[in-house]
């Protein structure tokens, strides 16, 4: 390929800076995942309750978070609440908050789906064997729920990593921003560097997300075939 500029990647700390940027991305994604798990599991369990008020509140939350584009959510919190509102939040904190709360909605729906997908007769037959209600939950319902949930949760992780790429648009310095900076700095000397740098960013995301996707698929097929 007749493109120069590959050397930009090897100059100075450029490669290290890109990896640090990737670290920021993954860090935000993992912090968001933690928020999503902590808030999403109780949310999902609440969604399996019958009460009308609980239903309206939880469904309303989940549906709202899921229909508005994540970038719009980021904009709303970052430009309104964080700047003019009561709290002052950095771009990174905004990102974790928004992606975490969005992730919680997705997680909640996954938990609800996993719990309700356990057939009623599983509980019935466990009771018929003489298991106490607590044992039914602990020995029969919970293990099956976890098995259904595990691949979906791993999958949500890759979605969170990919969605974290949006935070560059509210000024967080992550891998794409670093890439932009490196390209700008070499604009005159190596105008073609953009090809390699963005190509590498694409590759870095793939290297992070692909193994996680494979893991999700493995978990799914492993537990499906039993």
């Amino acid at each position: 390929m007749p493109v120069s500029g590959l050397e930009v990647l090897l100059e100075g700390r450029n490669l290290v800076r890109l990896l640090e940027g990737l670290g920021t991305t993954v860090g935000i994604a993992l912090a968001s995942l933690a928020v999503a798990l902590v808030c999403g599991v109780p949310l999902g369990l609440a969604m399996t309750r019958r009460g009308a008020l609980v239903q309206v509140l939880t469904r309303g939350y989940v549906e709202t978070m899921r229909i508005v584009p994540q970038l719009v959510l980021l904009f709303v919190v970052y430009f309104d609440l964080a700047r003019e509102g009561i709290v002052s939040l950095s771009g990174t904190a905004t990102s974790v908050l928004v992606l975490g709360l969005w992730g919680a909605a997705e997680m909640g729906d996954l938990v609800r789906g996993a719990v309700t997908s356990i057939p009623e007769h599983q509980v019935d037959s466990a009771r018929a064997l003489g298991l106490a209600p607590g044992q039914v939950q602990r020995l029969v319902v919970l293990p099956q729920t976890v098995r259904r949930l595990a691949p979906l949760t791993v999958n949500l992780t890759t979605r969170l990593v990919k969605t974290t790429s949006l935070v560059v648009l509210i000024g967080v310095v992550e891998v794409l921003k670093v890439a932009q900076q490196i390209i700008d700095a070499n604009r005159f000397e190596h105008p073609e560097a953009a090809f390699w740098v963005y190509g590498l960013v694409l590759g870095l995301y793939f290297v992070v997300c692909y193994p996680v996707s494979v893991l999700a698929r493995r978990l799914e097929t492993r537990w499906e075939s039993r």
């Binding site: 390929m1 493109v3 500029g5 229909i67 508005v68 584009p69 994540q70 970038l71 719009v72 904009f75 709303v76 430009f79 309104d80 700047r83 003019e84 890759t158 990919k162 969605t163 790429s165 949006l166 560059v168 648009l169 794409l176 890439a179 390209i183 105008p191 073609e192 953009a194 090809f195 740098v197 963005y198 190509g199 960013v201 694409l202 995301y205 793939f206 997300c209 692909y210 996707s213």
Partner: protein
């Protein structure tokens, strides 16, 4: 928040919404086309093509659209491939969505028992007719929930096309926030505009799923 300011900016958002909808519609159309071809290649285990499709689907599904767009718009021109912002956005959505649509359609086709083809063949149908009249309708029916979820996902993903300098909803919102400081009004209009686009899509998707459930695989 002032109603006057809302009214003042509303036409800008209306125009930007047209851009968003156009990009989304063309991107989704492209994604469905690419997805159908890829799903067929995988379902029929076309040698070589199958591996190529697999690689494409994994790449599309394991990288974010923003980065794909940066690559299309800022990197490819360095090797002589220059596309307009709008072309990049549509190609990007097609690339991304094609991977998702391929997965949805492939698992739909795979859900149709191979013995259904036997049933069709035993009546004298050709393989093509069996695919068209028996496997495809049932496979698509199974895939409908995943397909509609993908459609909504892709409309939402359209929100990043401002990075390739397209005057879409996000672009206009950011522009107003940066120039006139009518932040709250701009964000309100932004949310409203997306809801106006997405709610009918979501409701339509639900109606479609209901209608196609009747055509599903049954018990």
């Amino acid at each position: 928040m002032s109603p006057d300011v809302l009214l003042e900016h509303a036409p800008l958002f209306a125009r930007a919404a047209v851009v968003t909808v156009r990009i989304a519609a063309l991107g989704i159309l492209g994604a469905l086309t690419v997805g159908l071809v890829c799903a067929a290649v995988e379902h029929f285990r076309v040698p070589v093509g199958r591996q190529a499709v697999r690689a494409y689907v994994e790449l599309a599904r394991n990288t974010p659209l923003v980065v794909q767009l940066f690559f299309l718009y800022f990197a490819l021109p360095k090797v002589g491939v220059v596309w307009s912002g709008e072309a990049c956005a549509i190609i990007g959505l097609t690339f991304l969505g094609g991977g998702y649509m391929a997965e949805a359609l492939r698992s739909g086709l795979d859900a149709v028992d191979a013995s259904q083809v036997d049933g069709a063949l035993s009546l004298g149908m050709s393989r093509g007719a069996a695919l068209r009249h028996v496997v495809l309708p049932q496979g698509v029916a199974v895939a409908v929930p995943a397909l509609t979820a993908n459609v909504i996902f892709l409309v939402k993903e359209t929100s990043v096309v401002s990075v390739v300098a397209l005057p879409d909803l996000m672009y206009v919102a950011k522009d107003i926030i940066g120039s006139s400081y009518d932040t709250r009004e701009a964000l309100t209009l932004l949310v409203v505009a997306y809801l106006v686009i997405l709610l009918p899509v979501a409701l339509g998707a639900r109606a479609l799923e209901g209608r196609w459930r009747r055509a599903g695989l049954g018990s």
